[in-house]
C-alpha cells in the first residue's frame, strides 16, 4: 500500500464535519491531490508540528473529531508532543502515522522507525488505543472499530515508497488555506 492508497481508505471513514490536519511535504500534497472537497489544514512548513496543531484544535473543538495525518519523520521531530497528548487525553484526537521509514520528500533518507516502534511509544505515553497495520483490509477494520472508541488513538500505517510519483504542490496561498479551514 502506498500513502495515497492508504489516504483514500482513511477518507472513506472520515465524516464531512471532522477536522483534518495534514503534515508538511508529500502528506499534504497527496491529500490535496486526492480530494479537496473538505478543507484540511495543509501544512507547508513547520515540520513536526501537525500533532501539536491537531491537539490545540481537539482541545477547543471538542464536538468534532480531529484526524492528524502525520509521517514518521514528522512525529520523530516532536516526540514530546506524544507525552502532552497522552497527559491531556483528548477523546476526539485520532493520530494517523503514514510510516514508510524514510524522509520521502527529501530523497528517501532512512528514519529511525526502521528500528523503533512509534506505536509502542504512543502506548507508553497513555494513548487510549494504538494500532499498527500493513494491509488495506486491516486498516479498514481498524477505521470501523475506532468509531466507537475514545481517543487519543494512534494508527501506524506501514506504507511503501510512492516511487517518484510526486503529487503537485498545493495551489492555495497559506492565508487561503487558513481561512478555508477556519470557515469549514
Amino acid at each position: 500500500m502506498i500513502r495515497k492508497a492508504a489516504m483514500v481508505i482513511a477518507l472513506e471513514h472520515i465524516e464531512f464535519d471532522d477536522r483534518i490536519i495534514a503534515a508538511n511535504g508529500f502528506i499534504s500534497r497527496d491529500l490535496f491531490s486526492i480530494s479537496d472537497t473538505k478543507p484540511a489544514f495543509y501544512m507547508i512548513g513547520s515540520m513536526g508540528l501537525a500533532s501539536s496543531i491537531g491537539l490545540g484544535i481537539a482541545l477547543k473543538d471538542t464536538g468534532r473529531k480531529v484526524f492528524v495525518f502525520d509521517g514518521d519523520g514528522n512525529i520523530l521531530m516532536n516526540l514530546g508532543s506524544l507525552t502532552t497528548i497522552g497527559s491531556l487525553k483528548p477523546k476526539n484526537l485520532i493520530h494517523v502515522i503514514f510510516d514508510n521509514s524514510v524522509h520521502e520528500s527529501t530523497g528517501s533518507q532512512p528514519t529511525n522507525t526502521n528500528f523503533v516502534s512509534i506505536e509502542k511509544i504512543a502506548k507508553t505515553c497513555n494513548y487510549n488505543h494504538t494500532f499498527t497495520t500493513k494491509t488495506k483490509n486491516d486498516f479498514e477494520k481498524i477505521l470501523r472499530k475506532i468509531k466507537k472508541l475514545n481517543g487519543p488513538i494512534m494508527i501506524v500505517v506501514k506504507i511503501q515508497k510512492s516511487n517518484n510519483k510526486k503529487s503537485p504542490r498545493i495551489n492555495y496561498e497559506p492565508l487561503e488555506i487558513k481561512e478555508r479551514f477556519m470557515l469549514s
Binding site: L49, S52, I57
Partner: protein
C-alpha cells in the same frame, strides 16, 4: 518584574479574552505562570515549537492564545515563527523572558540576550519591553495587534541574578 505586577499582567490578559497560555516556563515570569496555573489556564509543553503549534490549533478554533518562553526558546522557535505563525498570518502574542539583559546574568544567556532585539527586528516581529509603570499600555497595544490579525511579542527583562 515584581510578583504583584506579574499576577496583574496575567489577570489583565485573561480579562481581555486571552483564553490559553501555552509555553515552556521561565523563572523570569514565574509568578505570571503561577497565576495562570491557579486559574487552570496554563498548558506547559515540552518545547517552545510544540507550544506554538498547540496555540495555533487553538487560534484556528477561535480561541485566543499566548505563548510564553525564555529567549533561549525564542531562538529555538525562529523557523516555526516564520513558516507557521507568519506564513499563515496567525494572530498570536509571544511573552518572552529576556535572559542576558543584565551583563552579569549566567554565561549561557549572554549571546542570545545581546542579539535578541536584532533577531526580533530581523523577523519583523513587532515587540514592546514591559516595565512596571507602562505594562498595561504595552498589553493593550499587543491585544489590539492580534485583533487586527497580527502577531507580536511582549518582553520581560530579567532584572535580577540568582
Amino acid at each position: 518584574m515584581k510578583e504583584d505586577i506579574q499576577r496583574k499582567l496575567f489577570d489583565h490578559l485573561l480579562k481581555n479574552k486571552i483564553s490559553n497560555f501555552v509555553g515552556v516556563p521561565d523563572s523570569t515570569m514565574k509568578y505570571f505562570i503561577d497565576q495562570g496555573l491557579k486559574k487552570k489556564k496554563v498548558l506547559i509543553t515540552t518545547r517552545e515549537e510544540e507550544a506554538i503549534g498547540i496555540a495555533v490549533g487553538m487560534i484556528l478554533s477561535q480561541s485566543n492564545s499566548l505563548v510564553f518562553m525564555q529567549n533561549a526558546g525564542f531562538a529555538n522557535s525562529i523557523s516555526t515563527i516564520t513558516s507557521l505563525v507568519q506564513l499563515y498570518q496567525i494572530p498570536m502574542i509571544f511573552l518572552i523572558g529576556w535572559r542576558g539583559f543584565l551583563e552579569n546574568d549566567a554565561p549561557e544567556h549572554t549571546k542570545i540576550g545581546k542579539i535578541q532585539p536584532k533577531l526580533l527586528q530581523a523577523l519583523s516581529l513587532q515587540s514592546m519591553v514591559l516595565d512596571e509603570k507602562s505594562w498595561k499600555k504595552s498589553c493593550d497595544w499587543a491585544l489590539k495587534l492580534i485583533r487586527d490579525g497580527k502577531s507580536c511579542a511582549l518582553i520581560i527583562p530579567r532584572q535580577f541574578v540568582d
